[in-house]
Symmetry: C2
Subunit: 336 residues, 2 copies
Amino acid sequence: MEQKVTLKELAKQLNVSISTVSKALNDSPEISPRTRERIKEAAQLRHYIPSSLGRNLKSMQTRTIGVIIPDILPHFFAKALYGMEAKATEMGYRLIICISNESLKKEKESIETLISGSVDGIVMSISQETQAKKQIQHLLDLKEYNVPLVLFDRVLAGIPCDKVSINDSLQAEQATMELISTGCRKVAYATGIPFTSVDDQRRDGYMEAAKRQKMKNRIIEFTHDKFPHQKFLKLLQEEKIDGILASDELSAVQVTKCILNAGFRIPEDISVIGFTNGVMGENFRPSLSVIDQQEEEQGKLALETAIDRIENKLPDEFMDYKLKTTIIHRDSTRKV
Amino acid sequence: MEQKVTLKELAKQLNVSISTVSKALNDSPEISPRTRERIKEAAQLRHYIPSSLGRNLKSMQTRTIGVIIPDILPHFFAKALYGMEAKATEMGYRLIICISNESLKKEKESIETLISGSVDGIVMSISQETQAKKQIQHLLDLKEYNVPLVLFDRVLAGIPCDKVSINDSLQAEQATMELISTGCRKVAYATGIPFTSVDDQRRDGYMEAAKRQKMKNRIIEFTHDKFPHQKFLKLLQEEKIDGILASDELSAVQVTKCILNAGFRIPEDISVIGFTNGVMGENFRPSLSVIDQQEEEQGKLALETAIDRIENKLPDEFMDYKLKTTIIHRDSTRKV
């Protein structure tokens, strides 16, 4: 079975740019007749399938948006997708979704898959590996295909595209200040998602508040599948922690469960606020106070921005939306 | 902007079958030269884009599997997708995912989108509306496109395709019997997912066990966003319920929370078992005893079956896998 040759591979083989290939195949007068012939012959020989014909000709739209998320398990992404799906239906578009599984390689493959499936635009949250390695060429290449890109939640500076996110750092700072305003004096930051850009920013916000309040930084890192009960309880007791800011929903639940199992009361002895307003925190006992990251709204706005960009309804300069978040007060924090 | 005309629309306009159009466009000798010409002309006139060229020619594979899930929010589907993604990567395939949002119309659209994106096969769990209306023509049509279909979790008899599911009815019966064997005498079935095929089967299994034990049927139905606290407590007290089988993870959590808030003890006064082994039940306090539906395994097996079918590694007759499930005993049930 032969594999499709992509526009990119064809361009590489011919040592010309992707847009040259695209223009040649579309008989653009910008390309000399001789080059056009050469490229067309090569395309035929190499069985190039113009499945992105609609895109290249710009005469047809598929009304399909491709979405790439880094991980399917967190409730955050499920809710963002839920919002996107609603907005797509409302605006007469369809979604196809790929999962990058936090891998740069799979992220690149997902982009290829979506482009060869002729999506009109791509909405994505970048993978941990892409963030760590800062390799973004595959995202810059989208310009050649004339496929607008919108980044949401995990965004990176240096990628010229529309962006939708929340101000994680500011929000973490405010949540820490709020714990302090309800009487907490020794607030710790507990993170189950170290090495992500959102964690970096939330940690920065926490440390900023700690600095302002001349409070010592107390940070505990772990992975969700191995919550360090003993180490955490030791920190609680030795440092007399009375407030916790948790990096995400599952971390907040794990911290709360460990605190209650050790015989402390929530919120009387220790208050907890966590990022993400999910079904788990809402239904936990006690119900958790959370930072509402507007997951659905982020999804909706990202999708709407992609469609508006596709339909040329936005100014040339890129949008950089920062959604306002709020704290939802439930039973894991004291009243102000 | 013009829309793509699909193979199906073209066939309808010409009043011939989809496979006739497909064969004609591929110069099949099975179709008379005159008909071939007529179809090709119409295809050109109507701007038919053979993006499913690879499929029709059968000379190329995209190594892409399309997945359609009915709802992105339940943890069950997230875990199934997680399993599929792992298996796809292992076998050198890619996934693209669509959400039908429990709607027949969106399910049909998703199939169109996936087919025009040239997937090699489709793995899906059918929408509530499709199940309720029993309209399955769009699924039968897949045969014309030569796209193998694998149904998982929510399957329907009457669709000739490979299937992967668990025996919901047997499992509900066994879980009910298990509650009885640990001393429960008045077991109720609490469902937050009425009108789904899995609920029907779980309810049947519960009623079968009740019948065998000469125990009265006690069933409470609700929707997740409006848990009926008062009605549920009234049932608990009037009927002296001492065991609950819950239809799904969130229902189990909602039931447990309501019971504890009313001052009953779990499992001393009332035991709870719920379907689905998710992160919410595992991290609840007390941790919930659950029926492990092998979400990841279902996803993996469904995907592997699709690939094996595509690669002609299966016998002609369709597979109907029923995965064995187990009960995970945690703190919401008494020891046997």
